[in-house]
Amino acid sequence: MTAKKKTFEDSLVRLKEISDLLETNEVGLDESIKLYEEGVKLAKECYKTLSEAELKIEKMKSELENNIE
């Protein structure tokens, strides 16, 4: 189950892999179709994640900063 929870970055890397595999046409039909399905699913997820992302900013507190204030 943990393997299913891929980060965006992992997904992109996987997509690149799938893209190359389908491009070179070295896997069988069943495998190709599986890869294709996986790829389309991942691509859609990535698309959604990226389109809906909102920048998060975290402030790091340093002792020095506190002293100055």
Partner: protein, 396 residues
């Protein structure tokens, strides 16, 4: 006598005259500024600095206590032209006067430039700028550390770049003063702070444009060493395109501005989205071509000689079978015909030799042992003999 008495009154002890000079000098020359060249610079292990300030015709001793010199933003070297500020003090045990230096600054932009060049050369020789040591900047960062002033325009610009290009990223900002006293120390502390987290993909250190003095913190040795020591890749983005700082040389990647630094640290969202579009199209094309290639292969196989030969073989067998049947039929026919002819022949013969007809005409058959005796020599007179007439058979 008066003369002597008078003379007696004008005599000072060494301590008295030194004390007078001390009061006079120290009250007359407080808060002065002096420009000169450093020579004989000696940092004492106690942290205090001792040096001489000189020009072509004169020199003066200087001391700078640790409490003051920790705020100095460069490392003094012999030959540097500086402006010092402080007070004249007299040191009675030695009978000399000196300047108690409160601040020391390089004299003008030329000197800052010279100090910059000297430090740059020194650090380059030490190997801090080696290209081979530069760390790669990750293409898809999850977290980016930022060392800059949090309320600066530069930081706001960095935020908008990050939002536009790659909003998936998380910015971790360690706010820092980026100019003035103590800025370098703060920058160093924040670099260390962010580096120690260990979860940042890259750290950007930066500030907007300004004068050489404004940017000076990024030319300080402690900042250079902190960048060099960090395990996290560091991008520097200081000032404008034309500004080069020591930090730029040590950093793993130099960006011309803080905004450019954020651009270098983040992938472009639009490009990724386009790539995803391309992926969907090309992978769909690929899968279609895989399927149609396989269809072609199946078609070719079906039409191959191997598959066709099945038909040939079958047809051959059929033909053979027909042949056999044909031959069997043929032979059978012939035999039947031959038999028919034979029968016909026999029938004719029999017809010709019809015994009854002969008997009718008056002939008779002599029969012994159920055989017709056709010759006299075959007749046995001791045997029972039957004579067959047309109408009747008799025994004799």
């Amino acid at each position: 006598m008066d003369l002597f008495v008078g003379e007696e009154k004008n005599i000072y002890s060494v301590s008295q005259i030194t004390g007078s000079i001390k009061r006079l000098l120290e009250s007359s020359f407080g808060g002065i500024k002096i420009v000169g060249e450093i020579s004989n610079f000696k940092p004492h292990f106690s942290g205090h600095w001792y040096f001489t300030l000189k020009d072509a015709d004169a020199q003066i001793s200087c001391t700078m206590w640790k409490s003051n010199n920790t705020r100095v933003r460069f490392t003094p070297e012999d030959g540097m032209r500086v402006v010092v500020s402080g007070n004249i003090t007299v040191y009675p045990p030695r009978g000399n006067y000196q300047i108690d230096v409160k601040t020391i600054n390089l004299d003008g932009v030329g000197e800052l430039q010279a100090a910059f060049e000297r430090l740059k050369r020194r650090l380059a020789e030490e190997g801090l700028f080696d290209e081979a040591l530069k760390k790669a900047i990750p293409k898809l960062p999850k977290k980016i550390g930022v060392v800059t002033a949090i309320d600066s325009a530069a930081f706001r610009d960095m935020i908008s770049v990050a939002k536009r290009r790659y909003p998936l990223v998380r910015l971790v900002v360690a706010s820092s003063r980026v100019q003035g006293d103590g800025a370098a120390e703060e920058i160093v502390q924040n670099i260390n702070l962010l580096d120690k987290r260990g979860d940042l993909d890259v750290i950007i250190i930066g500030r907007g444009g300004g004068s050489l003095e404004d940017l000076w913190a990024f030319n300080e040795e402690i900042v250079a060493r902190a960048i060099y020591a960090a395990n996290t890749p560091i991008i520097s983005g200081v000032g404008h395109e034309i500004d080069f700082t020591i930090a730029d040389f040590v950093a793993d990647l130099r960006a011309p501005t803080p905004t450019a630094a954020m651009e270098l640290a983040t992938p472009d969202k639009e490009k990724i989205l386009t790539w995803l579009d391309d992926f969907l199209i090309s992978s769909s094309n690929n899968i279609n071509s895989i399927i149609s290639n396989l269809k072609d292969t199946v078609f070719e196989l079906i039409n191959s000689y191997g598959f066709k030969s099945y038909d040939y073989i079958l047809n051959n067998f059929k033909q053979d079978l027909d042949n056999y049947i044909f031959r069997i039929e043929n032979n059978l026919d012939k035999k039947i015909k031959k038999e028919k002819n034979e029968v016909e022949l026999q029938r004719n013969i029999l017809e010709a030799f019809n015994v009854d007809k002969i008997l009718q005409r008056g002939f008779a058959l002599v029969i012994q042992n159920n055989k017709v005796i056709t010759r006299a020599k075959k007749y046995n007179k001791n045997e029972k003999t039957k004579i067959k007439f047309y109408d009747k058979e008799i025994e004799i």
